[in-house]
Symmetry: C2
Subunit: 316 residues, 2 copies
Amino acid sequence: MTVAEFGEFALIAAVNAGREQAPGVLLGPGDDAAVVAAPTGRFVVTTDMLVQDRHFRLDWSSAYEIGRKAIAQNAADVVAMGAAPSAFVVALGCPGGTRVDFVRELADGMWAEVARSGGSIAGGDMVRSAQLVISVTAFGDPRRAPILRSTARPGDVVAVAGRLGWSAAGLAVLSAGIDPEPFANVVAAHRVPHPPYGAVLELPAAAPVSALTDVSDGLLADLGHIAQSSSVAIDLDAAVLRDPALDPVSTALDTDPLDWILTGGEDHAFAATFRDPEGIPAGWSVIGRVGAGAGVTVDGTSRPGPAGWESFASGG
Amino acid sequence: MTVAEFGEFALIAAVNAGREQAPGVLLGPGDDAAVVAAPTGRFVVTTDMLVQDRHFRLDWSSAYEIGRKAIAQNAADVVAMGAAPSAFVVALGCPGGTRVDFVRELADGMWAEVARSGGSIAGGDMVRSAQLVISVTAFGDPRRAPILRSTARPGDVVAVAGRLGWSAAGLAVLSAGIDPEPFANVVAAHRVPHPPYGAVLELPAAAPVSALTDVSDGLLADLGHIAQSSSVAIDLDAAVLRDPALDPVSTALDTDPLDWILTGGEDHAFAATFRDPEGIPAGWSVIGRVGAGAGVTVDGTSRPGPAGWESFASGG
């Protein structure tokens, strides 16, 4: 059964059947718009669009995995402001010949990730398009004053929570066409990122965090945004960034795994600066320091080549 | 200059340059997420995706017109809940060969319609895609308890504010390939809808409005949603629906203009039910009444054929 045969309204009913809305969703799907609570009198909002063959491939990822990834990358942006995800809306464009089961599994993956991050899917839109396009908008309740990118200062230390380079390594395995079985860990990480939401949401109120972002474009690129916004320089320590879990993959593909760690996006780790190295909470690892100047260096040296993902570049 | 040559970050800077955020946008573009005020402790949210060759054609509409339409159809959904638009986020997918000027004009059109409806564009995303895809999410401040579709009652009267059938007539002119010049009014209405936001936002607090929707799929389809949600029947009066402005077009195309009025979407008029015919404010015209039963009839008779737009149907 295809979505064209099934029809828009039956499909909307099918993906919403049996879902339980979060308490903050005061009015869910079915009217002209949803109504969401904003108990602090403000809300955080971010939007990301995923396009078939650009952000995912149907032969590399299941519908369920694509759904999880679409929610995770938006939830990570909300959390990167220091806010707890409260609700999501999803617009889906798909060809008329898309199987109804594919859309159901996509929705199941979305709801599974929503269960990890918090909130619920309060509404959406479904339209016909030539390729699969998923547009997610995520909302969050600020738990504290927004943690910006522009507030790092010389003397701060840089720390990360979560994996770096795993998604890029998994993508490299899939792109190389080698047997993915021995590298199931990184391939799984590419298919479904695991942003460590708790590392941010459970930060003690007194944690001396000064700037925060999620690593979606690549560590150098995303820390570059912090460096630029804050008018500071950041230097990273390559030795502490290296991850032995990536060594078997880099050996098989004869590459330097540090490239994946420094420029691979999509792991949705969190990178932060802290005013005081003594105040860094469990779950965070120090990877560098903030100084005067501009740009991001590794062991004091600028790294050649692209810092990360660029939306209109070719490839990908 | 194409977007691929220009680059994502330069493009984001270009479309945001010189824009003034609404007071309710506490933090605009540039960080992981935006922050929007919700002074009543809740917000209204809706999302709509527009796809090239499905919802617009580049040979029939300018980038500016497409931008206005994308905002208008989302703002109309916010207003149809009885809420004032406060902010928007926009995700744009476009081919790498898209001209930078096209994207600038699209953004200009969006900001022009935002100026009509209220709010500002607080953030977004830009990605590469095979066809142009515009996904808008709109937020609103509830001015009163949300005006639902499910709260019409037998005895209510049905009224509309705004144009019906103009957009469909304009589409018919463009589709027929006849000279559009004599029909510039309806062609313009197809390219840029003019939702009468004020007719809802300026409703007196005491106005006895009982249910409300915007007419986006077609009058029969959208009133059908009210009838179904409210478990009532609605009967319309064809004589008062007829619009002499459509007669020259229907004569030229040898069709019954009532089809456009009853089943044409995209004008984004507002259709409401009121408890008391005496309390209907200026700007609203009575077109029918609510009774016991189910479904929508015209002069007491069910109308054959589709009631309006269906997202996965072929054509369009």
